[in-house]
């Protein structure tokens, strides 16, 4: 730590930010709803969606980032989690479970489907695996649409009750609080996101995380180290799907509907994949930043800018050339091209941890 004292306060602050960006971000996000009243309105819901996408992207990062398996169908597992949660909680079905139990079961169900997809595709690599996952995503979407008796077809399942429905906290109905004030959901999503980040970081720096990266780097050499590529890849499939399923169940709960199956299509998969690549494959802060930029642009900035243009009366005729969302995809594409041109490893490339030199005993 002695080297820090020689630095200027500004450098020290920057170093602190770099080391503990997670804590700083957590504190800022936790305090924000208390200071920014807008988060009690529509903005709160949008930011919650952003957190949910962050969780989804962290799940995808396990497969694409750590293990190097191209996955174009992550939205399918998002959908499986959402529908599973909805089936377990909606009043029209007999289960009507509590949030935590239903969320755990949805995560496990998504992991099980992930394993079932992973097992037959273990020998596929690169483009071929991409095609299979792409196809699987479409299969899930169409299945959700056609199983009308279970999933409600294009109507989706609703109303999905808010978490804590029927739970009383003093003389306050927790479910009602969730339904009325988006900040409750904001904090729940933030809490889950923080939990997922902690879990991912622990896995990253443990045996399993190293095995994931080793298989990505060189499967043959990993096998020569006694690592079973089969098990390692399957664990990546399962972990990735479980986290995506968890994100899906938060999504359904926050919207209080599963929305229609088209919400879980290829576009969503690609959007999340782009966020992970843009931020930096295999990097947790990179993934979070990628989602904040791409999805944040889409769900927070674009509506806000549109509202502002309307308010300023810049675009009285309603021409799409003068509305911000008309240019949404163009900005999106341009940003991707620029980042890939100037920072091909992503905005925050994965950084391998520096370990202190240990004493060698004996």
């Amino acid at each position: 730590m002695s080297h820090l004292s020689a630095l200027t306060p500004r450098d020290r602050a920057l170093a602190f930010l770099r080391e503990r960006w997670d804590l700083v971000a957590l504190v800022v996000l936790a305090v924000a709803p208390l200071c920014i009243p807008a988060l009690g309105g529509a903005l709160g819901g949008q930011v919650t969606t952003l957190f949910i996408y962050c969780i989804l992207a962290l799940g995808l990062n396990v497969m694409v980032g750590y293990t190097g398996l191209v996955h174009l169908g992550i939205a399918a597992f998002f959908g499986i989690g959402a529908y599973c949660y909805a089936i377990l909680t909606v009043p029209m079905y007999p289960f009507q479970m509590r949030f935590a139990l239903a969320a755990a079961i949805s995560g496990l169900a998504a992991a099980a489907v992930g394993l079932a997809l992973g097992a037959p595709t273990l020998r596929l690599r690169g483009d071929y695996l991409a095609i299979v996952t792409l196809g699987f995503g479409e299969v899930v979407k169409v299945t959700l649409r056609n199983l009308e008796q279970i999933t409600g077809g294009m109507k989706g399942l609703n109303p999905v009750p808010p978490p804590g429905a029927g739970v009383r906290l003093g003389d306050m109905d927790l479910g009602l609080a969730f339904a009325v004030d988006p900040r409750w959901f904001y904090y729940l999503a933030l809490l889950v996101l923080a939990g997922v980040v902690v879990a991912m970081r622990r896995l990253e720096n443990s045996r399993l995380g190293r095995a994931w990266v080793a298989v990505r780097e060189d499967e043959l050499a990993a096998a020569a180290m006694g690592i079973s590529a089969t098990k390692v890849k399957l664990s990546a499939f399962a972990m990735s799907s479980a986290v995506a399923g968890l994100a899906g169940c938060l999504y359904a709960a926050s919207l209080s509907t599963t929305a229609d199956p088209n919400a879980y299509d290829f576009n969503r998969s690609i959007m999340v994949l782009c966020a992970v690549i843009l931020g930096g494959l295999g990097s947790i802060p990179g993934t979070l930043l990628g989602v904040a930029l791409l999805v944040g642009f889409d769900t927070v900035l674009a509506p806000w800018a549109d509202a502002w243009i309307q308010q300023m009366n810049i675009n009285p005729t309603g021409s799409s050339l003068l509305s911000f969302s008309g240019w949404r995809l163009a900005v999106f594409g341009l940003a991707l091209i620029l980042v890939m041109r100037f920072r091909p490893a992503g905005l925050v490339p994965s950084r391998r941890l520096a370990a202190e030199l240990h004493e060698v005993h004996g």
């Binding site: 079905y93 099980a112 394993l115 008796q149 780097e217 096998a223 020569a224 370990a355 240990h358």
Partner: protein
């Protein structure tokens, strides 16, 4: 560098750590060679009937001109290829993926899951759901598992059921596709349904019953004539090409001719991957960072630093492996292989591309490895290294072993000289 005294005792009369018996490797047909860059004519024999013993605690070198089949023999020992003929024994055992209960259970679990998904799709899970879950919700009675099981049973026996539609009760076929009657009152609907069901049941039991399918007995199913379920040949085929990690876990570790480090990981992490199987604890322990998990990771890191210090890379632990100089990458590969806790180390041209000083240091390193009690099987083109450190040398030419013995005998062998310098005629 001290000259070694006489022959090491390991050469005399001990059980060889590794033994190859009549190993033949043939490429062509359906053998996958995509993992390694090999350019072989179809159907060619790369290694032919190779016998080789590696005594414990010795350094044995495998030499020969380019294309003699040395690396292929290595790949066979480390499980990248299954031999086309012959056997490889390590500590007297053949290394194959063990057929354990857990293999069976995991295969069954994955099979069951996949089977369930397909079965669900095949029985029209949508209608099944309607029959079992939704019909349980239309009356005010609480949903019970027994009730659900009852409706499931009824669905598969194609019994009539009661559905609700727009406030009216409908008597429908099990899959809900045919509506037989509509009533306003639930009790009345139930009565009608029971009546109709009785009629249907009577009709079904009517003319012609299905013959019993039990009279076709399997011949030979009687006592005796028990065929062993998995004989050796079948096991061989099951294990073929799938046993790389099994080989490594048995205690054989290797380096590669073209360096195969995990080049985007740090030096330390490369060694930790080598230590992978020695670190206890499962996924939950990692997720919750249990004290045991922490202790295991710390102990592994200490052992990794020890392995790095052994090859002289202790100062580079945090560097990215791919950015190390070439010679250091070679040494890191050796450290990684040592970390697996192997008893037999296969080194594939460890001195390739090294200058004389580095080569000499490497020869010392290999000797220090042997002095730790490990056994080394070495492929090398630097003859001074081979002749200086080997306890035994085997020479391959065109896949056939042409000489074997102590270095000083081999270097005088006429066939070896001919293989290296070319024949006279």
């Amino acid at each position: 560098m001290t000259p070694r005294a006489a022959d090491p005792p390991a050469l005399v009369g001990s059980v060889p750590l590794l033994s190859l018996e009549g190993v033949t490797i043939r490429f062509g047909g359906l053998v996958a060679v995509s993992d390694l860059d090999l350019d072989v004519p179809e159907g060619s024999i790369v290694v032919s009937d190779l016998d080789l013993d590696v005594p414990e605690g010795s350094i044995v070198s495998l030499i020969g001109p380019n294309g003699a089949g040395k690396t292929t023999a290595f790949n066979c020992i480390s499980g990248v290829y299954a031999p086309s003929g012959g056997t490889v024994r390590f500590q007297g055992r053949r290394l194959e993926r063990a057929f354990t209960p857990s293999t069976v259970w995991s295969a069954l679990a994955v099979g069951l899951l996949t089977g369930l998904l397909f079965a669900a799709a095949a029985v029209d899970v949508d209608r099944l759901w309607q029959a079992v879950v939704k019909r349980g919700m239309i009356t005010d009675e609480p949903f019970t598992l027994a009730g659900a099981a009852d409706r499931l049973h009824g669905y598969f026996r194609a019994e009539l059921a009661i559905d609700q539609m727009a406030g009216k009760w409908r008597i429908v076929s099990a899959d809900g596709s045919d509506v037989l009657a509509i009533r306003r009152d639930l009790a009345e609907a139930r009565a009608v349904r029971n009546e109709l069901q009785a009629a249907v049941t009577a009709r079904r039991a009517g003319p012609g019953t299905v013959p019993d399918a039990t009279d076709t007995e399997q011949p030979g199913a009687a006592a005796g004539a028990r065929v062993p379920l998995l004989h050796e040949e079948l096991l061989d085929r099951l294990a073929a090409g799938k046993s790389r990690d099994v080989v490594a876990r048995a205690g054989i570790s290797r380096t590669f001719q073209n360096i195969r480090l995990f080049s985007n990981m740090t030096v330390l992490e490369n060694v930790l991957v080598g230590l992978d199987r020695t670190i206890p604890g499962g996924a939950w322990a990692m997720l919750f960072r249990t004290p045991a998990n922490r202790a295991a990771e710390a102990a592994a890191a200490a052992r990794a630093f020890e392995a790095l210090a052994f090859v002289g890379l202790q100062g580079d632990a945090n560097r990215i492996a791919g950015q190390l100089p070439y010679g250091d990458q070679r040494r890191l590969e050796i450290a990684r292989a040592l970390a697996t806790g192997a008893t037999l180390l296969l080194l594939d041209e460890p001195a390739a591309g090294m200058n004389p000083a580095e080569t000499s240091a490497l020869a010392q390193l290999v000797e220090r490895i042997r002095d730790r009690g490990l056994t080394v099987l070495l492929i090398e083109h630097h003859m001074n290294v081979v002749m200086r450190i080997s306890d035994k040398v085997a020479v391959l030419d065109h896949g056939v072993k042409i000489a074997e013995g102590r270095p000083e005998d081999v270097r005088r062998d006429a066939k070896v000289i001919e293989a290296y310098l070319g024949g006279e005629g």
